[in-house]
Symmetry: D2
Subunit: 473 residues, 4 copies
Amino acid sequence: MNLEKSTKIQLKMRLNSIKNDKINEECGIFGGCSRAGNIAPYLKCALLKLQHRGQEAAGICCGDLKQTLYKDFGLVNSVFRNIKISDIKGSFGIGHVRYSTFGDSRKENIQPLKVTYMGEDVSLAHNGNVSEAKNIREKFERIGEVFLSSSDSEVILKRIIFSLKKKPSLWTYDEVAKCLCENFSLGSYCILLYLPNRIMAFRDPFGYRPLMFASCDEGDFAASEDVAFYGLKVNKMIEIMPSCGVEINSEGYEIKPAYTNKDISQCVFEQIYFASPASNIFSKSVYNTRYKLGEILAGCEDKDFCADVAIPVMDSGLACAIGYSSALNIPFHLGLIRNNWMERSFILPEQKKRTRNVLEKFIPVKSVIEGKKVVLIDDSLVRGTTSGEIIKILKECGASEVHMRSVSPKIINTCFWGVDIPTKEELISYNKTECEIAKIIGAKSVKFLPLDKLRDVFEGDIWCKKCFEENRK
Amino acid sequence: MNLEKSTKIQLKMRLNSIKNDKINEECGIFGGCSRAGNIAPYLKCALLKLQHRGQEAAGICCGDLKQTLYKDFGLVNSVFRNIKISDIKGSFGIGHVRYSTFGDSRKENIQPLKVTYMGEDVSLAHNGNVSEAKNIREKFERIGEVFLSSSDSEVILKRIIFSLKKKPSLWTYDEVAKCLCENFSLGSYCILLYLPNRIMAFRDPFGYRPLMFASCDEGDFAASEDVAFYGLKVNKMIEIMPSCGVEINSEGYEIKPAYTNKDISQCVFEQIYFASPASNIFSKSVYNTRYKLGEILAGCEDKDFCADVAIPVMDSGLACAIGYSSALNIPFHLGLIRNNWMERSFILPEQKKRTRNVLEKFIPVKSVIEGKKVVLIDDSLVRGTTSGEIIKILKECGASEVHMRSVSPKIINTCFWGVDIPTKEELISYNKTECEIAKIIGAKSVKFLPLDKLRDVFEGDIWCKKCFEENRK
Amino acid sequence: MNLEKSTKIQLKMRLNSIKNDKINEECGIFGGCSRAGNIAPYLKCALLKLQHRGQEAAGICCGDLKQTLYKDFGLVNSVFRNIKISDIKGSFGIGHVRYSTFGDSRKENIQPLKVTYMGEDVSLAHNGNVSEAKNIREKFERIGEVFLSSSDSEVILKRIIFSLKKKPSLWTYDEVAKCLCENFSLGSYCILLYLPNRIMAFRDPFGYRPLMFASCDEGDFAASEDVAFYGLKVNKMIEIMPSCGVEINSEGYEIKPAYTNKDISQCVFEQIYFASPASNIFSKSVYNTRYKLGEILAGCEDKDFCADVAIPVMDSGLACAIGYSSALNIPFHLGLIRNNWMERSFILPEQKKRTRNVLEKFIPVKSVIEGKKVVLIDDSLVRGTTSGEIIKILKECGASEVHMRSVSPKIINTCFWGVDIPTKEELISYNKTECEIAKIIGAKSVKFLPLDKLRDVFEGDIWCKKCFEENRK
Amino acid sequence: MNLEKSTKIQLKMRLNSIKNDKINEECGIFGGCSRAGNIAPYLKCALLKLQHRGQEAAGICCGDLKQTLYKDFGLVNSVFRNIKISDIKGSFGIGHVRYSTFGDSRKENIQPLKVTYMGEDVSLAHNGNVSEAKNIREKFERIGEVFLSSSDSEVILKRIIFSLKKKPSLWTYDEVAKCLCENFSLGSYCILLYLPNRIMAFRDPFGYRPLMFASCDEGDFAASEDVAFYGLKVNKMIEIMPSCGVEINSEGYEIKPAYTNKDISQCVFEQIYFASPASNIFSKSVYNTRYKLGEILAGCEDKDFCADVAIPVMDSGLACAIGYSSALNIPFHLGLIRNNWMERSFILPEQKKRTRNVLEKFIPVKSVIEGKKVVLIDDSLVRGTTSGEIIKILKECGASEVHMRSVSPKIINTCFWGVDIPTKEELISYNKTECEIAKIIGAKSVKFLPLDKLRDVFEGDIWCKKCFEENRK
């Protein structure tokens, strides 16, 4: 028997059950106007720092009046490998790193989307989900409109153009905002629009996705996360509030309302999983949130619960595990080494590629596992397949017991806002007790953060926790 | 002094005056339905045989219900170098080789253009010029439509979709024809349309560009020139008449009228320059036409005119020169060797690349030139810059005299139909006598075919010769 | 001022002083014979797990009698992106990941090196440094031998061939070992040799570099580290002892002596920095070693020393920091997030590329740094430039104090064995007190592990610690 | 039935019998020293003009003291597509276009071959065949030398280095010549050697292959054919005589004897087939030779022989056909259009690729063939398979009769000098009468130039005609 047969058959049996086992990332955007000199190097640097939000494709659109577009599949470094970034002209620009959500993996779906309308260039990049896009697309098709891509970006841009019907240089911020408000008020998305010598940025009315602004020595920029500004000389950092936006030109910037206000509903998973631990999202430090969630979860343990070692599932479980182990005084160890040379798992659009990398991604450190009672800390359990796989690995390394801990509550519902969560039936927590879940994934015990404890971190009514709740309001 | 300085400066002075010195090619199209098995290899083979009609880019769109598109800049061989052509599925398909006419050199302008409308794939490829495209584009933009490319293909396809507003599988040939007739009746173009499991082909009402159909053992196909069918087992070959078209599906084909009849006006340059000498265009052998033009021109020479050697300007002047030399009994020699390893000159979209290759393209054979009275035969003179350059080369090789002959009459007008001819002022024949032209290009004498003699070859009123005529009717 | 001017000038001033600030990696090798089926997928998987040992280039040579070579610059994943690994034939093979040591960055220097001698294929890959290679090369050149690459692999292979002068299939293990022993007995290297249907592996007499062997269900393999065997069904794992080797063919394997015994002298930096924390090198867990070094260093702190947070310099400082913080009960935090999307710093051969990535590589987590007394734990200080840079970043984030700790003693000497350490003068610890060093790098205090404490981890005389010692024995 | 089945099966039957049906090209070389400025653009221009001598691969090696090498598979234009030729530094350089002869198609076999010996760069390019290379290679291997490529270039360069055993800058022309004379005196080759700031060129003692020298305003250069100098300002052109060579440095050049004189024996196929018609080889115009061969062959026809049209097999048969048709007053027509977009047939190293292109390469012009008695003129018949194929095509186009004519005598022997001719048994003329040959290829009649008539063109004893002769002297 060879690799295809012996090892691989066993692996396949395991791997077949491991599918998309994370809530999917939500793309990253960055754009603005550089104070002096070209913006392209800033765009590339920022996208590198937002790369965790999407690794399938990347693109930038730069210029002043005329815009030039560079985009391709692959990581930022690979997309720009053969492009001399310092040669790309223009003070204005927007950039995008993409995790494939809606829209299939065709090159024309990579953002930004650029068009020429009435002789002027316009481009658009958005992250998040545009709930109404499908309906608007169909309505457009019925009146004879044709789409060249299957991306929502084209729907948004078409919708704006169809409403305004004039040269992009004549569009006002208020007109664009009005169009978005009338047509896309139910979305959970942020938009960057690059018009001749102007950038407009919009955060949706609920504020589901984060949008940050920074006025720096180097220029004025908007970004999905403040980590994108790291390395710049920031003079003023502003969180763009839900239903608001910012207009940037070479003279300066103006923060403005855009949509009719709605109840704020910020996605907790931006804090728990999507964002960089170095970011401050929705005015909170992501690292601290995760640490605190770990601490709170520790407080929920039975008095007599003890373990020899607390091991995080990298990378998002790391701060959680530090908080957890510190609270319980359980030794913290990096028992699973992440192989940096593999692509981030679960990020490729096709199912097959997702599963191929799982085993390669984590390499166990036998010396901290063997003979130990291990408590494994993750940010969340979605399908539970990865957890099951990792528990198997830990046991093979000689762990005497493995206890699974999730710092987020049970995910028992799909995302109303379109985050790519599996159906209820595929969710391991749906209609199952912690005991039942433990059995399925092979853990000695499983514990989730109780939903009411989540409020200790995410206070008030400004958070979307719908995926933890059984019945939608 | 180095190359940049010594040789290059001299060359530059010469070359600067050599610009687009040919009437530009008019793209090539091929499409249909293969009887059994995939069409992709047939598309590739056919495009290779139509490559002389355009070398800037190539593309094919293949499938059955669903369509897959492959297109890129470069020669056919280079575009498909890394694609396993036999793996491309589907019995239906259309293909295109592009010479850049309208529409700048962006990848999205390469044809075919494929879109998905109401859940179904449609693609389109056209050659020639669509006079009304610009107006229709502007009209569309005013009502809020946005175009993702700058190609006329998108305008045509949008216009059809906007008229029909229903699933492509429901479009009838007559409906599409009606839409074309109402909107693009002044064009000089041919269209291939690939709908789910159907191909439609249309030739414009004036029949400016050629369109051939062949029913073969291998399938039913339409093509710009019959040379594209070479190698197939052709059972029936039909010239699609002006204002007509053909619909092809897996059951067979039907030749049908499409537009309201207009006066036929076939472009003489298809015979003189664009088409392959192996083709039969507008029911005439291209090779024979060129040979006969050479013969007729020979008949116009003064009785006492004699020369030591007749040399063709390759490739289109070749048959002309054989006819000419044979009629006058002047020895025929290939005094200018074409360097096959250079790209065909004048074909790249940017001016600079056009001029770079001129000198490299022709290498003189000194032994047949030195000390000889040379008569140089070309198909036409546009700006005259290439002719001037070649005459210089011949003299440097020791030609005692060089006489220039053009088998087409003086080109003194731009093309009403959009063929990419320079402005009148750039045309060497505009407002100049043969004597004056000879002086400019450095020839001992220059002679063009008299316009009335052209009628000996192109009889009747079915030919467009507008570029030879001073006042447009 | 633009990016080139404003930000960049400041950065440049910082970055200019940051140069190669780590002891360089020492390449990784893997080879053997797969029991049934092709070896290529095993080679690729193993090289991915050894990628931390070298990221400049990768290659594999596979086959049975005939060998096929695939190699290129780039990470393993990138080198094999367009190669269908399961199509590569052959049960035998060797692979290499390269950090550029001697030998400049030309493609022919990438390993394995394959030649055809007397009609048979032979290939060789080695890691480490071959001290005598330069002399042997010169000696060879004097007798008229010419080298096509500048790699030591060619010198070793040439030397073997020159000694044996017969078909590779006739070479015995003992003959090859004798040749190595007579010519390369002073090196610090491991060799993989792929002869027709045979693999030979050798570890140098001092055992400077590690070499592991594993007999698995899937085949018999030798590797630089045991982490390379992870994922295989290992039946027997053997550390190839210094001066020994192993011969592998399709029948099985034989561990054999190769060189005359010398005093064992294993490189401590394999444990401290080079190897994966998941590996067991020289019979010790790398993770444990680093953890313990942290603990011991903690024990050396003044009684009254305290700090608010212990932060590791990723990745090699991580286990050290956990040990350190745990011993002193200082909160452990990941205050510097590693950007996985950047290439590992200091790894590219040119100085310029090395420095470009430094700032991008670590992103500080402000919320765990601001207002805190930080103790920063690294595995070692070489030039000290990175440390200085990181301290600057921490202070900019609001750290009230930064204390630097190195779990290895002061490096005050270059490597006798050719590890790419800067000259003495460039070493920050050379001739400097901890106080002086602290001032240079901007730390409140600096502490190194005392050399005599190192013996608590690396006991006995079997360790090379020459770079910590002033006078070479 | 689909393409694979219907057309392809028929084609396959035809094509299977068409194999390498030409004597193979013999590579092209160019090198020298540019007077001022970089040589790289001159090298590229020259190689483009020598491209007909080899299309498998191309390379240049440029510099002054240090040399840089650029080489790859593909046509010159494709190899240098992504290289900015004007950026390549250095006044000295050598270049090579390769037709694969000995040495398989591995990248390391592409020329020039560059090595660093005793710290100095040396490179070598040669064309033709080095009869003694195989023996010398084996001798070298027996003493323990190893070769990294399978090209003869490495053997020659090794042999020189082994003889001289000193720094290349110290090698004298006479020493190198002596080494070549002693070791490679039986070859049929030309060599370019690039030493630090010097170029040496050598033509073999028999003068089998041509070597030209030109002192130009732009520099001093050696080349396989004088066509390579076209476009330069040539002040002095010299044919390097058999057994001689030239040394070029920045001061000037010196023509010198190199080998012991032998009987001159110039390859007639350089005139008949290999060289460009624009070249003057062995002091004769290639075009004129071919024309004259056509005339002489015409003179051998029966008095009553007549035909309607004379058609050349492109490209080498062209001048022959003009000469032939002119002598007999048979109308000359280009009845087979060459498709310039296909790669030159018979040029790719693998048999399969050779045959694939045959049908695509020539497109018949029906209007000059149909109903005509055709006489088809080719330069030579080797296997006769192409001729058979073309005759079939002509008949399918309606030719009433096809008569085959070869302007070279029957090829009945393999090439003593290593030109890649098939074995005797594969030669169509071996042991067959013209009548028998006609039957095989489907011609009405076949006629070869009688061997004694060849002397009317190639006078004296200085020509190698061994392949036409039964018994070797």
